[in-house]
């Protein structure tokens, strides 16, 4: 018995030891590029080539990159303005994605819809078509409908997230007993009111996940936003602006690697915080995937 426990203890030490080593290596791997970009944003090295290893452990911190990023005015456009645009765009996309995902998830879970599964499968498979197959036709269609603007972008961003999220929402709603709404509906709420008050609240993790993914997708998209919004510099999103300020859009423009880094930090850190704050919710939302349906 004692031998067994010793063996068990040794095994435990070994197991935990290896775990910690793996975790530490992976943690360094995860953090390094972010640490690198963070430090670069505080350096005065204008380009990649002149960045030295010593810049990763700087003696001096420079704020020129941030100053330039925040004060540059490009014919009426500026980084703060573009961030504001991005926030409006991403916020609206998140709200609409949540509504669409939850309504669809609710319908798939609760309502009696003919050929429900066929429909769901079909919608799901349709999202397998690549962006390259849909990009040109979408642009032409949206141009014809006078939708080459924020409205159009929101419309274009929404389904990708929502279809994926609708599946998770469906699973999540499955696990809420129908009796909750039935009681509410007996109390005089309409089905839609019951949906809003009961389901939205109980499926909060899915709501959070959908909002986050929807926000993320819209906040970070470059290709579509660029083709829709290019002509008006005041309407640019932060992503387009960052590309431009970093000299990636028009190679003839003056490039600055530290400005790119500063922009990355300003765009990335808030999103990162949002992610970490909502990670609990996300974990719970994804755990629906493992749930067993009776």
């Amino acid at each position: 018995m004692k031998g067994l426990s010793l063996k068990y203890k040794l095994f435990k030490i070994l197991r935990l030891g290896i775990s910690y080593i793996v975790l530490i290596i992976m943690a360094i791997f995860s953090v390094f590029p972010l640490y690198y970009v963070f430090m670069t944003s505080f350096s005065n090295a204008p380009n990649l080539i002149s960045l030295g290893v010593s810049d990763l452990f700087p003696k001096h911190i420079y704020f020129i990159a941030y100053k330039e990023l925040l004060t540059t005015n490009l014919y009426g456009g500026s980084f703060p303005l573009w961030v504001r645009n991005s926030l409006i765009l991403a916020g609206s996309t998140a709200v609409i994605s949540v509504l669409l995902a939850l309504i669809t998830g609710y319908a798939l879970s609760r309502l009696d819809i003919p050929a429900k599964k066929t429909l769901a499968t079909f919608i799901y498979i349709v999202t397998f078509f690549p962006y390259t197959a849909t990009a040109v036709p979408l642009y032409l269609l949206f141009a014809k409908m006078h939708l080459l603007n924020y409205m159009g972008l929101i419309l274009a961003y929404t389904p990708g997230t929502s279809i994926f999220a609708a599946f998770i929402a469906k699973l999540s709603i499955d696990s809420i007993p129908p009796s909750y709404e039935e009681i509410a509906m007996i109390d005089g709420l309409s089905r839609f009111q019951a949906f809003l008050r009961i389901i939205m609240r109980l499926a909060l993790p899915v709501v959070a996940l959908t909002a986050l993914l929807g926000f993320d997708g819209a906040y970070l998209d470059f290709a579509l936003a660029y083709s829709f919004l290019l002509p008006n510099v005041k309407q640019w999103t932060a992503t387009i602006g960052l590309y431009y300020l970093a000299g990636l859009l028009n190679p003839a423009s003056a490039p600055a690697y530290n400005i790119f880094a500063a922009g990355s930090v300003l765009m990335g850190i808030p999103l990162m915080i949002l992610f970490i704050v909502s990670q609990r919710m996300m974990t719970r939302a994804y755990s629906n995937l493992a749930g067993v349906k009776q």
């Binding site: 290893v53 390259t132 197959a133 032409l140 992610f275 970490i276």
Partner: protein
């Protein structure tokens, strides 16, 4: 009852409209373009050319090379990403491990940080010999430097490592969520039965995760197959077309060389592949059945 049916229909209507507008219409349009000669020299006035574009693809189009590349990219990325995510989820799921939440929070950072910015950062990191990866990290580990311009193998290593960095946290989170939802009693009972750690893994952990793995595998398979940003940003498909996948090639044909019809044909071929493969997997794992 009819009123109820109609009512249900309204719930499902938005998604149907959106699907028709944003997926079905463009795909049919693309299919149509792929049978025309729409391109720079036939811009407004194009005509039907039958299967010409498909013939070009099979005759001249490096079809097999691109298929091979796409498979290397998809399988290489998926296996490493899922393996890494799964291993980390298992490690984090040990109840006697201290500081789990700290590690968890650190390890999801790559996912939390905007992906396209990360790609640009990685592009800088990989420049040989000036990027930090080749200047600092690899020499520190006594590994050879990686230059995607001088070797195809290097290009693949660079691409897949970067893609791993971008995506392993997603798999870790999903698998960890699933592991957490396995009732602890199951393990306790098995332990009483004298099952060792390996047996418990095989008998409890894996079966409980089957659904999650299958679902994640399909979504990620399709996503990786269709994902063109990493390749486009890091190697541009180079050297030559050595790391070019169907999608990257189609994208470049359309947006760099204005061969719209040829690009559409490549997209159609790629879509057929991924959909047939995905459907076979869906069918085999019966993953959607368990959810409905």
């Amino acid at each position: 009852m009819d009123k109820e049916k109609l009512y249900s229909f309204f719930y499902i209507l938005p998604i149907i409209l959106v699907t028709l507008l944003l997926f079905i219409f463009p795909v049919i349009y693309s299919l149509y373009i792929s049978f025309t000669n729409m391109g720079l020299l036939h811009f407004f006035h194009y005509s039907y050319v039958g299967l010409r574009n498909y013939i070009i693809i099979f005759k001249y189009g490096y079809f097999l090379q691109l298929l091979e590349n796409t498979i290397i990219w998809t399988v290489g990325s998926l296996v490493t990403m899922m393996g890494l995510g799964f291993a980390l989820a298992l490690i984090l799921n040990q109840s006697d491990l201290k500081g789990r939440s700290i590690f968890y929070a650190i390890l999801i950072l790559p996912w939390a940080f905007p992906g396209f910015i990360s790609l640009l950062i990685w592009q800088g990191l990989w420049v040989d010999p000036y990027g930090m990866m080749n200047k600092l990290i690899l020499p520190m580990l006594h590994l050879p430097t990686i230059n995607s311009l001088t070797s195809t193998t290097d290009a693949w290593v660079e691409l897949i490592l970067t893609n791993d960095w971008l995506s392993f946290p997603y798999f870790m989170v999903v698998f960890y969520s699933a592991l957490q939802s396995i009732p602890r009693e199951l393990y306790d009972i098995a332990e009483l039965d004298g099952a060792n750690i390996f047996a418990r893994f095989m008998r409890i952990t894996l079966p409980s995760l089957k659904k999650t793995i299958a679902f994640v595998f399909i979504t990620s398979f399709v996503f990786t197959w269709n994902n063109f940003y990493p390749i486009y940003v890091l190697t541009g498909g180079g050297p030559g077309i050595s790391t070019e996948t169907f999608i990257v090639y189609a994208y470049q044909e359309a947006f760099s060389y204005s061969n719209f019809s040829l690009a559409a044909a490549w997209s159609v071929i790629s879509s057929i592949f991924v959909i047939v493969l995905a459907i076979i997997v869906i069918k085999y794992t019966r993953i959607l059945d368990t959810y409905f």
